[in-house]
Amino acid sequence: MSVRPNARPMGHKPPFWRDRAKRALIFQVLVIAAVAAFLLYIVGNTQQNLASRGITTGFGFLDNTAGFGIVQSLIDYSSQSTYGRTFFVGLLNTLLVGGLGVLAATLIGFIVGIARLSPNWLIAKLAAAYIETFRNIPLLLQIFFWYFAVLRTLPGARDSLSFGEVFFLNVRGLYLPEPLFESGFGLIPLAFGVAIAASIALIVWNKRRHEATGKRLPAYWLSFALILGLPLLVLVASGVPITWDVPELRGFNFRGGVTVIPEFLALWLALSIYTASFIAEIVRSGIQAISHGQTEAAQALSLPRNLILRLVVIPQAMRVIIPPLTSQYLNLIKNSSLATAIGYPDLVSVFAGTTLNQTGQAIEVIAMTMAVYLSISLTVSMFMNWFNARVALVER
């Protein structure tokens, strides 16, 4: 073994550029610095450009009076409210159609996905036809279909379709009776809360007992009955303290009750049905990913069929289903911005549409809108990751 003349003595540290870890660190710091410098440059440059073009900047406009009306709002809103409030009105409308869309799409998607694997030829083929139809037609066309071809052809207000003189459907939307709660109604949410607490206790107790003695009660069914039954019981016992505000044709239109505008219906139907076709495929592939040996092994233990599904197949399938399901949820929420094509007052239509145009503050408005979609998406991802970690297989 030859000794190189200027070999470093043992224990002496190599220069930092020879140290792989330090080098990596330095590069990362450099990249972060470059990105930060670029962002700073963009912000500065934008401000300078806007100023030199005489375009007003800043977020002060959010406190100014909006001056325009919005047809659907979940919070108090009038044309005297501020631009800042139009942001929340739009945001809540986006969350409303997104949230209800996720619910409906999940429900339809799971049903169709499981139906696709049904041994019944007709059911399986119907499910397949559903998937192939709705997955392959562009979403915008489906929105237009529901809006223009279906809801636009309904009769006018004076010839509304009536369901028991309580529900009405016409070209202006769906009119539902609205429950008005009288005094004494407070007991019912209370009963609901008690029922939920009792159900949780029941489930925990049942699980412990099952582990200790092997005996168990149908705890889920019992809690379901409890949560439904207890408030109902209290409702009847307290003499039903609810009156219904039934919509009534007055002047141009129905007044009273709750109005579901056709723009909402069209968007919600299209988003749910379209996304459900993707979810159905995800559910099918998730179930098929579980090797048949698992089912056979469970059968060998003579587990009944529903328990095989519930205890063996579904928990493992969920692991495969949840990550792609998350992206479908995100897609649905982002796709809801197509609302503006039919005039549903979502965040893009109200805030990035009317507010942007009335104030002219494109950069601020677009930045706020993008930040909203980003935060909604990150929140949904975080929740789904947490949920996934809970249901994921614990490998032993």
């Binding site: 963009i42 440059n45 934008t46 300078q48 450009n49 806007l50 030199s52 073009r53 005489g54 375009i55 007003t56 001056g67 325009f68 009306g69 919005i70 047809v71 009038s78 044309s79 005297q80 979403l139 915008l140 223009f148 636009r152 006018g156 207000a157 070209v171 202006r172 007055r250 002047g251 141009f252 239109n253 007044r255 056709p262 982002k334 796709n335 911005s337 197509l338 503006t340 094509a341 039919i342 005039g343 007052p345 893009v348 239509s349 990035a352 549409g353 009317t354 942007l356 145009n357 009335q358 104030t359 002219g360 494109a362 950069i363 677009i366």
Partner: protein, 341 residues
């Protein structure tokens, strides 16, 4: 998913974010000459103001403003590139430089003139908001509209003025807001709303687009002031002058009786005003970097204001709008152009 609106908005935001600081002194005249065409923002298709005719040529009162600018600057009224814009897109398109003149039935307001980095150059049409209803509603005045569903185009002054009117009169309404005039008309026809509202001139234009124009009527009330005019970017005063004086040239030509038919005979006119307009006595285009025949080109190729009015929106057109307040000042109207001298 992106639609056209988002692309325009994002592209404009991007342009303002990333573009360098070099062009502080913008020279739109020079850019227009080297491009050989005026970049003109118009509507998506509003008959009488800006809409393509059967052969695909853009026609209308607003279009004529752009044609006049092209005639003055390039000597050719046809040297115009049209960009059709809905109400929401229009200002961003101008701010970002996609167009150089916005001539799209746009109301002149303080906010638009002072906070968007834009300048209005004059008034092409004095308008006001009105209401169109179905005749069989059996309504004769706007004060009976309490509780009505109203179709409005997004991003317009209409959205604001209608809300003001209903609040001032203590009435309620449902605003049904769409991005394009095609959709607002569609909503009105399908019965989604009881009322279609917009500037009255545009209601006249939209009414003739209905399947059955006679089924609809325009209520007598005018609830707002809507002076419509061309808009340019701030920071290029010479371009502002060119657009402003192109319209004034059309108005002055009408005032002194110069038409596209008689303009060549008028070249020998003894009238000093006519001689100055037509560049026979001094070059009044010089201060704007234009040739002496700038106004001659406008009148000979586009016509004077009155000709444009009658051809596009007046009695020679399907819209049948009276001159009314849009007559010249000496005919009982509001149009009063400063003199060319």
């Amino acid at each position: 998913m992106l639609n056209k609106k988002h692309v325009v908005l994002l592209a404009s935001a991007g342009a303002i974010t990333l573009s360098g600081m070099a062009n502080v002194q913008a020279d739109t005249l020079e850019e227009t000459r080297s491009r050989g065409a005026v970049q003109c923002g118009v509507s998506d298709g509003l008959p009488g103001f800006s809409a393509p005719d059967d052969s695909g040529e853009w026609q209308g009162l607003d279009v004529d403003v752009c044609r006049a600018v092209a005639a003055a600057v390039l000597g050719d009224a046809n040297a115009v590139n049209y960009v059709s814009l809905n109400a929401v897109e229009r200002f961003t398109a101008l701010q970002s430089g996609e167009i150089d003149v916005l001539s799209r039935n746009t109301t002149w307001t303080t906010t638009r003139d002072t906070t968007l980095g834009l300048n209005f150059t004059g008034v092409t049409f004095y308008d006001g908001i009105g209401f169109m209803i179905n005749r069989d509603l059996g309504i004769s005045g706007a004060d009976e509209l309490d509780g009505a569903a109203i179709c409005i185009q997004s991003g317009t002054t209409t959205e604001l003025n209608v809300a003001d009117y209903f609040r001032a009169n203590d009435m309620a309404f449902d605003p049904i807001v769409f991005d394009t005039s095609e959709q607002t008309v569609g909503g009105f026809q399908a019965g989604r709303c009881d009322v279609l509202t917009s500037d009255t001139s545009q209601l006249a234009a939209l009414r003739i687009q209905l399947d059955d124009p006679d089924s609809a009527m325009i209520l007598p009330e005018i609830i707002s002031k809507e002076p419509l005019g061309p808009v340019v970017r701030q920071g290029d005063d010479n371009w502002l002058n060119i657009v402003k004086w192109s319209l004034f040239a059309m108005l002055n030509a009408e005032e002194y009786g110069i038409t596209s038919e008689n303009v060549d005979d008028m070249m020998d006119s003894e009238n000093p005003d006519v001689a100055r307009i037509l560049g026979q006595d001094g070059n009044y285009g010089e201060g704007m970097g234009l040739e002496a025949d700038w106004a001659y080109n406008i009148v000979s190729q586009v016509g004077n204001y009155g000709e444009s009015f009658e051809r596009n929106v007046g009695m020679d057109s399907p819209l049948q709008i009276e001159r009314g307040v849009n007559a010249l000042w000496n005919q009982g109207g509001f149009h009063y152009a400063p003199p060319i001298r």
